[in-house]
């Protein structure tokens, strides 16, 4: 293949100006500063006289000295080393990397939201309290629950809160339940959150069709099981068709059903988890409600519950005052308590509220429809060349595997790295764990037909390359400023901070 034709296939996504950039500490020069203090209009003090010399530190190691332009160039250059939704398709399965509207960023920066304090008097925070009250109501309607708390800072903290409420519910009924059922396709946060509540985890196998069956749940269900944690649609992108029967099985033995809302995007306006029999669930506002993922956070993980669990919601809760306006209620004797120093990730709540109000009922449903259409379209384009472990109509994502490449020596990891050469962030790989060599692809509703076609063509081309030139794929990526990084070395000899040269 000629260099030119390869470049055509690689696309432009990695062709930005390629600055190398040292660590910020290596740019440091003593005496520089990017900050100016206001004049001190009160008498200066001697810290040693106020606090005692023994209480004071001498220098601060680990901070660089830079002018503003140094800092701006440093971080701007670092930014050019990242893939991002605003640059192109970022099809991480179960992460719902949809477009993050610019308006949401703008409203979150309004000083009445960004520069206000969590402990300021309620009378001076009525706009905030009203937003929380309304957002709780709207989210409850979307998921078919009676009440919602906005406090959890991310999905995993939402799971923790949800399982705590389940525990409180059983304890109040004086029932000793010690185990939680978790399907083998679940996110790792599910068993980890249940374990933080002291529960023993019982894995439940998925069926040969990829679905969780009521029969399997019934076999694992017992009087000492507190709950089943279920993700619907599942991490295989499949709607759990037996969900109603599964919930009945759990409820019949006194258990509760926890819903992991990571994949809610597929169900907006189509079906509501609360109507399916789920008792408590979290939502990931950074997935379904478009708040930016920010290089790994902050997220936001509100939790919805049915009335039976409402007394256990975290404190405080927002209530409408009798005389008009809104207030916080802190005295909730049956509450699991507080999970966050304040009210959760309010900046994300503002963005999610804006998103919900931008879409309205029709727009929300349209998100689900187009997300599901996109995933099924990709599957239709790819199933000829790629192994599809559970080949059925999918919801928001589809899962492929590297099984057909077994004789080429090319693995899922290689495919992921080669996709980078084509200008794409790879899908989620090697998850769910029940599919060896999984490639879990969630295009979201944000992607256009022609965008999906280009992505599909890249994956088809890679399948062909794996046969014709497997080394090309195995040594990818070829067009990034770093080639494959040695993760084993990083773990064996951990270097977790910069230290000045001796």
């Amino acid at each position: 293949m000629s260099a030119t034709s390869r470049r055509d296939r690689v696309g432009n996504a990695t062709a930005a100006i390629g600055y190398e950039e040292p660590l910020v500490f290596e740019r440091s020069r003593p005496g520089r500063s990017g900050y100016s203090l206001p004049a001190l209009d009160v008498p200066a003090v001697d810290p040693a006289a106020c606090l005692g010399a023994a209480a004071l530190r001498e220098g601060i190691p680990g901070l660089p000295e830079l002018s503003e332009i140094d800092v701006v160039r440093h971080f701007t250059r670092l930014s050019t080393w990242n893939a991002a939704v605003d640059l192109g398709l970022y099809p991480l399965g179960s992460c719902t990397m949809k477009y993050n509207p610019k308006l949401n960023e703008r409203v979150a920066r309004l000083p009445g939201f960004a520069q206000a304090h969590p402990l300021q008097p309620e009378a001076l925070a009525q706009g905030f309290l009203e937003l929380c009250f309304e957002l709780e109501r709207h989210l409850a309607e979307v998921i078919g629950m009676d009440r919602v708390t906005l406090q959890p800072a991310a999905g995993a903290q939402g799971e923790l809160a949800g399982v705590m409420m389940i525990r409180a519910y059983h304890e109040e009924r004086r029932e000793r339940r010690t185990r939680v059922l978790v399907p083998d396709s679940a996110h790792g946060t599910n068993p980890a959150s249940a374990a933080l509540n002291g529960y023993e985890i019982v894995p439940v196998p998925s069926g040969g069709d990829g679905l969780l069956h009521a029969e399997a749940v019934a076999a694992a269900m017992a009087d000492d099981v507190a709950a089943l944690m279920i993700t619907n649609p599942s991490t295989l992108g499949l709607f759990e068709e037996e969900i109603a029967a599964i919930c009945e099985v759990v409820h019949a033995r006194g258990g509760l059903v926890y819903g992991d809302g990571a994949n809610l995007n597929a169900l907006l306006g189509i079906a509501r988890p609360g109507d399916l029999g789920i008792d408590v669930m979290h939502l990931n506002l950074h997935k379904t409600f478009s708040t930016p993922h920010g290089g790994g956070g902050p997220g936001s993980g509100p939790v919805g519950v049915k009335d039976a669990l409402a007394p256990f919601l975290p404190t405080p809760v927002v209530r409408r005052s009798l005389g008009g306006g809104f207030r916080l209620e802190r005295e909730l004797p049956r509450s699991i308590g507080r999970l966050h120093a304040n009210f959760g990730n309010v900046g994300m709540l503002v963005r999610a509220f804006a998103y919900l109000r931008s879409l309205g009922p029709d727009g929300l449903r349209r998100c689900a429809e187009m997300a599901v259409l996109n995933a099924n379209y990709l599957l239709a384009r790819l199933r000829g060349a790629w192994h599809v472990p559970y080949d059925r109509i999918v919801m928001h994502e589809c899962v492929l595997s590297d099984r057909r490449l077994a004789d080429t020596g090319v693995t899922t990891l290689d495919v992921a790295k080669r996709l980078i050469d084509y200008g794409y962030h790879p899908p989620t790989v090697y998850f769910p764990l029940i599919v060896p060599g999984a490639l879990m692809i969630e295009p979201t509703e944000s992607e256009s037909l022609e965008g999906l076609d280009r992505f599909a063509e890249a994956l088809l081309a890679i399948a062909a390359e794996a046969r014709e030139d497997p080394e090309l794929v195995r040594s990818a990526p070829h067009h990034t400023r770093r080639s494959r990084l040695d993760e084993t070395r990083a773990a064996r000899q951990p270097v977790l901070r910069w230290q000045p040269p001796e």
Binding site: N82, A192, L359, P361, L496, R497
Partner: protein
Amino acid sequence: MRYIPHTEEDVARMLDAIGVDSVEALFAPVPAKLRLRRPLEVPPALSEQELFAELSALAARNAHTGTHEWFLGAGTYAHFTPAAVDALVSRAEFTTSYTPYQPEISQGTLQAIFEWQTMITGLTGLEVANASLYDGASAAAEAALMAMRTTRRSRVVVSAGLHPHYREVVRTYLAGLGAEVVVAPLGPDGRTAPLAAQIDAATACVLVQQPAFLGCIEDLPAAAEAAHAHDARLVVVVNEALSLALLRAPGDQGADIACGEAQSFGVPMGLGGPHLGFLATRQRFVRQLPGRLVGETVDTEGRRGFVLTLSTREQHIRRERATSNICTNQGLCLLMATVYLSLLGPVGLRRLAEQNLARAEYAKARVRATPGLSLPLAAPTFNEFAVRVPDSGAAALERARERGIVGGLDLERFAPELGPAVLVCTTELARREAIDGLVAALAGRAA
């Protein structure tokens, strides 16, 4: 729908390729009886213009640092943030990327986290720090859990000087694990009373906040000695991170874990979140750290690069045996702090801290000189301190509010033992005139 690109023609072509005749048919796996048969009852869609107006109206009903003089801290601090912070953090390459699972195309995020880890180890005087945690309160809870794992003990002592909300969160987190949480009282000067009597051979750790919730600077070496006498861990919790620029580092005073809230480093108050939990510890506890960690390595050509590492601690690998259930970190917030600290540098940060101290000392002197007001706690403070007022905290703060001042926190609910009192914080935003106005208002006098 302005965020969705599909035309009707696109949809028709895609359905054709899939081999179904309608979008509805794609939802066949959802049993008919489980479908929602009506539109969601949420308000109708708004245009961008209408929505901006609506949210601006909501925001305008919240007081903020632009509408009032600001003396309210208590865990969330009103500092000035240079414009470069938001300008850089707003770059879409940072905001619209995710956890750096694919290091070759995530070096920007990874290097920034590595830089943050380095800065927080320098500030705390410890050897390793994670990428971040949700907030200071969950960081305190994670630190307690970490101490329980490394000591195999389940009794946790928390100073009454730990932020009351943090104490609640620690209790909430530990409730399901059979841990015992004991509160150690404060002495008359506002610092934690001697801890020796509180700590025994079953104690995993003691959590002490520096400066404490009421602003007092604790005697950390004494706390460390009391904890270490029983091989318990000393966890130092910091929620005014700017104090780290002035006070001796926790790691140099015997802390085994330093954790807390770094919102002060350029993260907006934002009604309480998202903020920036941090956690740093000794090298020997590195495999017990919760959350993401970034490490240095090389690529196939020997060039330096960064990756997520030691992930066998984490939930996506270790599941129910993970060190924590956390998955996301506070990526954008740690980036804000890393940019902020890069701009200020060691000198700027120290001067800023000294200025906060000077403003507090001025305010305290004014309080001492004002009849009707007093300082109920004798211990030294940084930029926050309790003031006893003549009538009630609520009435005093209401007088301040009439002058356009958010004057602090009413301590009636948090520290009733002080009598009528408010907690006052003076950051660099606190101008002399505003301090004078606040003192007069709290005392109930004409300015």
